[in-house]
């Protein structure tokens, strides 16, 4: 059996979790149709029935919902202890999760507890005997083939490595409530307070027809005026690289990529973005890509359909002026 740790958001199972289940279905098929179960922990943002219904459409058999006071706040160790307990009762031979901060953390705990290896950021499955996966290393510039010869085989699936798609055959989607005991030692490192994130406005980004992207080349938190003007002239949305969110220049919900949103606009204008594989994972579905970059050798430039070589702070204002001039 394959056990998938599912994370949730306002849509039910979040996109990366649905991608991970889609990925798990390949394994399931290779194994002659081994069932896929999901484990979801803590309070649900949607009614349980709508989550189980959604997961059933992805081919999931049982949905193990872990409840109890111990899970009111997130903690890597307590979540892992719950996943371990579900894995013991189900006898899963594979445990997987999305390559998100929590997916990575919980499965690393689980692997340490079980004394087995964990493969992070898997992008493809090579075969069952031996159980082989390929994963991203060196910031995505290199792929590593790895053998997971212990049980359970533990790995996380890189965000947006596959596209989430419902299964041909529905699963049962049976809700199984579980309330595992948690060791007090596993409750020591838990979130004690949390400031809610800036409102999640990524919906607009995901469905935008035009996205103007900004990376480290933007140069600072106060240097987005031209980019925002272009965004508004094109009636689009602003999207950014992880460097931009890590440096605190823009909010996380604007991030495009493996650990951000996946966009599919008609036009993506990528300004000052190098085009790392993790960024590409989020923007490769754009119909047309225009890169603006000082470096003609940047991967984003060679992957784009069109490019302008130059400083975005010169190019973007000139574009804005030209649009306004033609509009009169």
């Amino acid at each position: 059996m394959i056990l998938v740790l599912v994370e949730t958001d306002a849509s039910g199972a979040d996109e990366v979790s649905r991608e991970t289940i889609t990925f798990a279905r390949n394994l399931s098929a290779a194994g002659g149709g081994v069932p896929i179960d999901a484990v979801v922990i803590g309070d649900l943002p949607v009614p349980a029935e709508s989550l189980t219904d959604q997961l059933a459409s992805y081919g999931v058999r049982d949905v193990h919902h872990v409840t109890g006071d111990a899970f009111s706040a997130y903690g890597g160790a307590s979540w892992a202890s719950a996943v371990v307990s579900v894995r013991e009762t189900t006898g899963s031979v594979v445990v997987t999760a999305g390559g998100t901060p929590r997916g990575m953390e919980v499965l690393a705990h689980l692997a340490a507890r079980k004394g087995v290896a964990m493969a992070a950021n898997v992008v493809s499955f090579g075969g069952l005997s031996p159980f082989t996966v390929t994963r991203q290393v060196v910031g995505g510039a290199v792929l590593e083939e790895m053998v997971l010869d212990e049980r359970p085989a533990v790995f996380t699936v890189a965000g947006h490595a596959v596209e989430a798609s419902p299964a041909e055959a529905r699963g049962d989607g049976r809700l199984v409530s579980v309330n595992p005991e948690v060791d007090t030692a596993d409750l020591v490192a838990r979130v004690v307070s949390s400031d809610p994130p800036a409102a999640d406005l990524s919906g607009g980004l995901k469905s935008a027809r035009v996205v103007v992207g900004a990376g480290r080349g933007a140069g600072g938190a106060n240097k987005f005026d031209d980019l925002l003007e272009l965004t508004s002239l094109l009636d689009g949305e602003l999207g950014v690289s992880r460097v931009v969110t890590s440096l605190g220049w823009r909010p996380h919900h604007e991030q495009i990529g493996q650990t951000g949103s996946r966009i599919s606009p008609d036009l993506y204008v990528a300004c000052g973005i190098s085009g790392a594989i993790q960024h590409w994972a989020g923007c490769s579905s754009a119909k047309t890509i225009l890169a603006i970059n000082t470096d003609a050798e940047a991967p984003m430039v060679s992957k784009a359909h069109y490019a302008v070589i130059g400083d975005l702070h010169e190019v973007v204002p000139a574009i804005n002026e030209e649009i306004k001039r033609r509009r009169g």
């Binding site: 290896a117 964990m118 792929l143 020591v188 036009l267 225009l290 784009a304 190019v315």
Partner: protein, 256 residues
């Protein structure tokens, strides 16, 4: 007083073109040079800040080839006060091997009256990207662990760690001794000063051999993703390209 151990890994600088060694087992650093990850640079900075605030020691550790002493010196130059070098071929060590070696050092130092109350690591190494050494280390030591913290401070026997999560800014408060893995972004690593570099040269590095045989990584081989043929059309250079860009925007029908 808090004594901090911070773990850094010598990795090939992968900001430029990446080349593999002939056996396909590692990344070749002959031309690209070596560095440590941004996460680890931030961990070093946090270690130095925490010890400055509480008056303890900041020890930097690496497991790697003899040349990895360069990364130890870099951390000493920005304020670490002691260094440990487990001399070994890091490529032959899997993440659980590395965790076991770090734990061996922590336990031995503790027995010798030099406890490391707080161990900081990067969230993930820039080359192997295993996302797990810190967590495995916590299990080796029987300590709590916070993962992916951008901010780390020490107050009355506790480490307070702030994680910039998709679900919001989350705070952990965990009693020492503890392990924390660091994600870049919360602090700006400082640059070494000339006196800092001079001081770093004088520190005697504790060099040791691995405590146990490594079990190794589960690697079969490394591969480079196939190069994508480029079909980019260059519209021009600088501001002069604006008319060509707007022609394209009109052609795509996105200028309203």
């Amino acid at each position: 007083m808090t004594n901090v151990l911070v773990c850094v890994k010598r990795v090939v600088d992968s900001s430029g073109e990446v080349v593999l060694t002939e056996d396909g087992q590692s990344v070749d650093g002959k031309f690209a040079g070596y560095t440590m990850s941004n996460h680890e640079e931030c961990a070093v900075e946090l270690a130095v800040q925490a010890t400055a605030a509480t008056g303890g020691t900041a020890t930097v550790l690496t497991l790697g080839e003899p040349e990895a002493v360069e990364q130890l010196r870099a951390a000493l130059a920005v304020g670490c006060t002691a260094a440990v070098h487990v001399e070994a071929d890091a490529g032959a060590f899997g993440p659980s091997d590395v965790a076991r070696e770090i734990a061996a050092v922590v336990k031995e130092h503790e027995a010798a009256g030099r406890p490391h109350d707080l161990v900081l690591l990067g969230n993930d190494a820039a080359d192997s990207g295993d996302f797990q050494v810190g967590i495995r280390l916590a299990y080796e030591l029987g300590r709590p662990v916070v993962n992916g913290a951008a901010r780390v401070t020490v107050e009355d026997g506790h480490v307070v760690a702030g994680v910039e999560a998709p679900t919001g800014y989350e705070t952990y408060r965990v009693p020492l001794p503890a392990v924390v893995t660091v994600l870049e972004g919360g602090v700006e690593p400082r640059y070494p000063t000339v006196p800092g570099r001079m001081k770093a040269k004088k520190v005697e590095v504790e060099t040791r051999s691995p405590a146990t045989e490594p079990r190794g990584a589960k690697r079969v081989r490394l591969l480079l993703p196939p190069p994508q043929p480029s079909s980019v059309q260059i519209l021009g250079k600088g501001a002069d390209a604006a008319p060509a860009v707007v022609d394209l925007l009109e052609q795509l029908g996105v200028t309203r």
